[in-house]
Structure formats: structure tokens, C-alpha cells
């Protein structure tokens, strides 16, 4: 009897243990520790970019997953020397798609010669896994400036230095790695001169340097003893950057032929560091970075915003303007400009002012003007009535507000409608479906503000976003597309 009870108890324990084991097996377990839980593709779009020297080159970084949610990216996008971006503050060149990855952790330019933009971004920490983006998503827009011609340039993603993180539904964690599979690079062709760019950051002028990479911003490190207005041959310049390097007799003779002033001052051996200054190789050779004289110019102007009724523009108050002046191969931007005066002229609200173009001594220019929710307009002549479809401009300036002519641009008013960008809320220079959708959504609820207030979607400045603003956007879109195509 005792034996029988024992057998039954042992049997019950065994069955219980097996049932328990079965239950445990049924529960989810991450059996893939250390493995990738899903794959991803990285692309740079468009796959072919054709621009001219002086143009902005815009590339989009895309990530594609098979449904896995993206939580972070750490990648390097490499580019050739036909392109530059600000190395001191590359964040200006990167626009993150905040709907996908909200926080920019690091942006820096790394590498020498063939440079790479390192971009590290993560999703907002308060974002729920279900709200993370998946599928094919644009992560960022990267902007370069084309400074050299070239047909074989590539924007490449460095696979070895790329990590994409995602939400692993099995592990329940957002730090799981996605395997980087296919990578789609982009080609670019930079053609002949359009605008001679001026990659100038005044603070970089005359800074001491030891190697090319220490200059940045398109500046090159030249020896301090080189006083000429012609560039030194590249192979000799590179030799001066070698520790203890010396120049052969024939190289010294070559230099003297190019620049007789250096005779007697060429050092026999070149020290490694602090041997030179950063200078702009694209300007006529001067001891500083600037191409032009340091005199100021003055632009006296009149502008108007399109479709603003002068008698009902209670909210057109201190709309800041951005002016870009271009002349003699040099451009300079002046932002946050508030015109000094405004007046209603024949129902039109006309703004006027006198803008001192600091450190811009060029006297024959083209002027580009942009408003806070407006496209950039190009003005090349006085009383312009439509697009100025020519290179350069015929705006003549002097260095004094009293003698500089007043330029009236009100007959070709600044078009409204660029209220947001595709990947962020910042303007992107286009009027497109995203701008329409934004204004439409605000007009449906009649977004309103008190007199003197500001609404991004209020294109006519009447303090309310309504169907008239939607119509203004349509008018601007039709006009601009008609000009472009």
C-alpha cells in the first residue's frame, strides 16, 4: 500500500514537471542572442545628381526595412572633393526627418582627402515602439555645395561604419541591431562654372595650419613664405607638408619661375607644423580668405509680398527677409532683415529699406530675396516684372545709402507658400504637396491669431488661415511651376 502511494506521488510529480516544462517552452524566448533580428537597406537618393559648380547638391538618406521598426542610425556618407560643406558646423548641412529619428546625436566631417559626413541619430526616447517608423523612410537630407567640376563623383555609404538599430519585438528592446544589407550609392556630375563659390568663413582666415585637413571649409594650407598671386604646384605643396621634407633644386627653380619673390626665402627643410595659413584657393591669391575688397555696399530696396491686401494685413508685422547678393563670383547672405518702413501703395503693402552689405564690396550684383513663408526670388533689374532668366544681375550699388539707387522689386512680388519642408518644419525652397497639406489642415480649423500675431499658414496676413490662403498657395504653385518648366 505504501509502495503504491509512493508510485502515484512520484508519477504525479513527473507529469507536473513535464507539464511545467511544456508551459515554459510555450512562452517567448529570444533564441537569437547576438544575431540580427531583421535586415535593412540603405540608399542615397536620387541615384544620379547633375548640378553646376555653385549649385547646392541635395542628397536624401533613406533606410528600408521589411517591417522592422527603426530606432537609431550611425553611418558615414562619403563624398568627393567636388563637394564641400561647413566642417566647423556641419549641422547646418543636415536636416533630420524628425518624424523618423527625432534627435541628432552627432554630425561631424571625418577623414582626409575623401571626406565623410558622420551622422548619428536616434528616435525620441519617449516614442513607443509601435510609433517607430518602418518600411522605406527618409532619415535625413544632406546638403553640399558643388565647388569643382567632375563626372565620376560618388556619394557612398560606408558599410563598415554603419549601424542601424531597431525595435526587436521578440526581445522587446529598441537597441537590437538590424543587418545592413544592400547599399545604394549615388553618382553626381558637376558641370562647368555657374557661380564661383566663396567657401569663406571669416574666422578661418589666416589661421595657422599644418595639414590640408586642418583648414576645412574649402580652404587650403599654404606655406607662410609663399607671397604670390599664383598657386603653388600641387605636388610641391604636398611635399611641404611632410615632416622635415625638403625641396629639390629643380623644384626650387620651378617655384622661383612661378613666383620670383620667393628667391632667397625658400626654406631648405620644411617644418611639420605651423608652417602655413589657411587660404581660399578659388580666389585670386591673397593673404586672407576673401576675394573682394572689404568695402561695404548699400542696397536700397522696395519689396512686396504677393497676394497681401494692404488694407487687411493686420498680421504682416516684422516678417523677416533674407537677402543674398551675388556678384563677381562672390555671394553673401544677410538674414533676419526687417525693412525699415512700410506703406500701402495702390492697395499693395510695400516694404522698403536700406541694407548695408557688410564686407561686400562688389558693385554689380543680383539680389535674391526670401520671406519666412516665401520662395526665394531673383532680382536682376529695377522695376522687374517677371523672372530674370539670366546669369548674374544688373543691380548697381555704391557704398552709401545716399548715392546708391533705390531698386523697386514690388512689380514681381515675393511668392508665398513655402511654409514647411518634406522632412522637417524648416522651409525647403519649394511649394509642393506638403505645404498644401499643412495649410489645408490649418484652414479647416480656421487657425486664428490676434492682430500683430504670426501664423505660418497665414499667407495673406489677415490673422487667419482659411481658404484664401489655400488659393494663394495654388496661385504661387502654378506661377512657379510655369516659370520652372
Amino acid at each position: 500500500m505504501k509502495n503504491k502511494s509512493k508510485t502515484i506521488i512520484v508519477s504525479l510529480i513527473m507529469v507536473g514537471a513535464l507539464a511545467g516544462g511544456l508551459l515554459l517552452v510555450k512562452q517567448n524566448q529570444n533564441t537569437q542572442r547576438g544575431a540580427y533580428f531583421a535586415g535593412t537597406k540603405l540608399l542615397i537618393l536620387p541615384d544620379l545628381i547633375e548640378k553646376k559648380v555653385g549649385d547646392e547638391v541635395v542628397a536624401q538618406l533613406w533606410v528600408e526595412t521589411d517591417g522592422a521598426k527603426i530606432s537609431s542610425i550611425d553611418t558615414q556618407v562619403c563624398y568627393g572633393n567636388e563637394l564641400v560643406m561647413s566642417e566647423t558646423d556641419p549641422t547646418l548641412s543636415v536636416e533630420l526627418n524628425k518624424k523618423v529619428l527625432g534627435t541628432l546625436v552627432d554630425v561631424s566631417v571625418v577623414g582626409e582627402g575623401y571626406k565623410c559626413l558622420r551622422l548619428v541619430a536616434i528616435a525620441d526616447l519617449n516614442k513607443k515602439p509601435a510609433d517607430l517608423a518602418s518600411g522605406m523612410v527618409q532619415v535625413a537630407t544632406i546638403r553640399f555645395l558643388a565647388v569643382k567640376t567632375g563626372s565620376g563623383g560618388k556619394l557612398t555609404i560606408d558599410r563598415a561604419k554603419t549601424k542601424v538599430g531597431g525595435y526587436n519585438p521578440v526581445a522587446g528592446a529598441t537597441d537590437s541591431a538590424l543587418k545592413v544589407g544592400e547599399i545604394g550609392d549615388s553618382r553626381y556630375i558637376i558641370q562647368g562654372d555657374n557661380i564661383l563659390p566663396t567657401p569663406v568663413l571669416p574666422r578661418s582666415c589666416n589661421q595657422s595650419c599644418g595639414v590640408n585637413s586642418s583648414c576645412g571649409d574649402g580652404l587650403i594650407c599654404f606655406p607662410q613664405w609663399w607671397p604670390c598671386s599664383r598657386e603653388m604646384p600641387a605636388e610641391i605643396l604636398s611635399k611641404t607638408q611632410i615632416s622635415g621634407g625638403s625641396l629639390s633644386e629643380s623644384e626650387q627653380q620651378t617655384l622661383i619661375q612661378i613666383c620670383p619673390e620667393v628667391e632667397g626665402s625658400i626654406p631648405s627643410a620644411i617644418p611639420l607644423i605651423l608652417y602655413g595659413v589657411c587660404r581660399n584657393p578659388q580666389c585670386p591669391f591673397k593673404p586672407d580668405c576673401e576675394c573682394q575688397t572689404s568695402n561695404d555696399s548699400v542696397l536700397n530696396y522696395k519689396v512686396a509680398f504677393a497676394n497681401v491686401n494692404g488694407n487687411d494685413a493686420k498680421c504682416v508685422v516684422n516678417w523677416p527677409l533674407q537677402f543674398i547678393v551675388l556678384g563677381g563670383g562672390t555671394s553673401r547672405a544677410y538674414s533676419g532683415i526687417i525693412p525699415q518702413s512700410k506703406a500701402v501703395v495702390e492697395g499693395k503693402l510695400v516694404f522698403s529699406g536700406s541694407l548695408v552689405l557688410t564686407d561686400f564690396g562688389i558693385r554689380e550684383v543680383a539680389v535674391f530675396v526670401k520671406g519666412p513663408k516665401h520662395l526665394q526670388m531673383k532680382y536682376g533689374i529695377n522695376n522687374q516684372e517677371g523672372p530674370y532668366n539670366q546669369a548674374g544681375g544688373e543691380i548697381s550699388l555704391t557704398d552709401s545709402a545716399d548715392t546708391s539707387p533705390v531698386y523697386d522689386f514690388t512689380r514681381y512680388p515675393i511668392m508665398a507658400g513655402d511654409v514647411t519642408g518634406v522632412t522637417s518644419e524648416a522651409q525647403d525652397g519649394w511649394i509642393n504637396g506638403v505645404d498644401f497639406s499643412y495649410i489645408k489642415s490649418k484652414s479647416l480649423v480656421h487657425e486664428t491669431v490676434a492682430t500683430g500675431g504670426y501664423l505660418r499658414g497665414d499667407l495673406d496676413g489677415n490673422c487667419q488661415v482659411n481658404s484664401n490662403d489655400v488659393n494663394i498657395l495654388k496661385i504661387s504653385l502654378q506661377a512657379k511651376q510655369g516659370e520652372l518648366y
Binding site: I8, A38, N432, L477, G482
Partner: protein, 190 residues
Amino acid sequence: MNYIKNMKGNRILKTLIPLVAVVIIIESVLLLSRPAIKIGPQTLKEGSNTPVSLNWEANGETVMGKSEEVVLKMETEKEVAIDAVDLYIKYDPALVTISDLSFDGDFVAPSFSKISQEKGLVVVNYLVSAPKGFNLKVGGGIDLARFKVNYISEGEVSFGIGEGTLVVENGSASVLPFNSDGLTVKVVSE
């Protein structure tokens, strides 16, 4: 007698228990080899982030000098409300001329449309004024652009979706991802 009965019960138990144990073990092994949650591709959330497809309808081969119709359709695998579509179709103007651009009566009329032979672009901008946007249904695609192509040169002619093309979702004002392969038409001489 009782002793004999007890002996028989014990034998049955001793056979049954290992049998049950073996069955459970086999089941456990089978379950282990089949993960309970699928790892890998997952379906996308409806609405935001729903991808649409831009698909071509055209003959893959044609004869030089012939004029044929090409259609670009927008389709979806999940119902989605559209606020706007900016369409840029790029082509090589040295190989073809394009004419007779027309649109789908079921969709809104475009706010802007143009064939730019000089730039090799067909540009169409659709803006949907209806508060809830245009409801693009599964299996109910629309013709975004329909045009006639006159093939003026032999070889392969490509059409692609150009930079600036956007499909904007109603409500969120966010850009929807889209899939599209280019169209290549082989042109032969008669």
C-alpha cells in the same frame, strides 16, 4: 486476489506514465522548432507610413516612329487618404516626344500640368481640397498620368520617377513612401 489486482494497476501506470512523458517531450521539441512569434517582415500599420505603388502600363517593345500610350497608375495595398501628389516623370527628349497628357476623371483635376520637352519632364501637381482627402482604395488605383509617346529613336527608352515626386497623406501632412520601378521600352526599326 486484491494483490493480483494491485499488481495489474501498477503495470498499467508504469506503462502509461512513460508514454505520456514521451508524447509531451515530442510535442515540446516540435514547439521549440516553431517560434511562437514570427521574426522578420511584419505588416505595416494602416494609415501613416502606408506605401503606395506607382506602376507603369505600356508595351515593352515597340516600333520606331510609332505613337503609343503610356499610363502611370497609383495603387495601394491598404486604404489611404491622399492630400496631394507631386509627380515628375523624367525621360530622354532626344529619344521620344510626349503629347496628349490626360488624367483620371475619378481623381481631382491637377492644379498644374506640363510636358517640358526641353527638360525631359512631365510635371503634374494634384492638390485635393476635400477635407478628408482622396480615398485611395485597395484594388482601386487611379491613372496619375496618361500620355502618348512617339518613339523617334531606336534602342532602349527609359521613363522614371523624378526627384521631387511626393505623395502626401491627408491629416498627417506626411509624405508616404512609394515604390516604383522605371519603365524601359525597347524600340526596334520596322
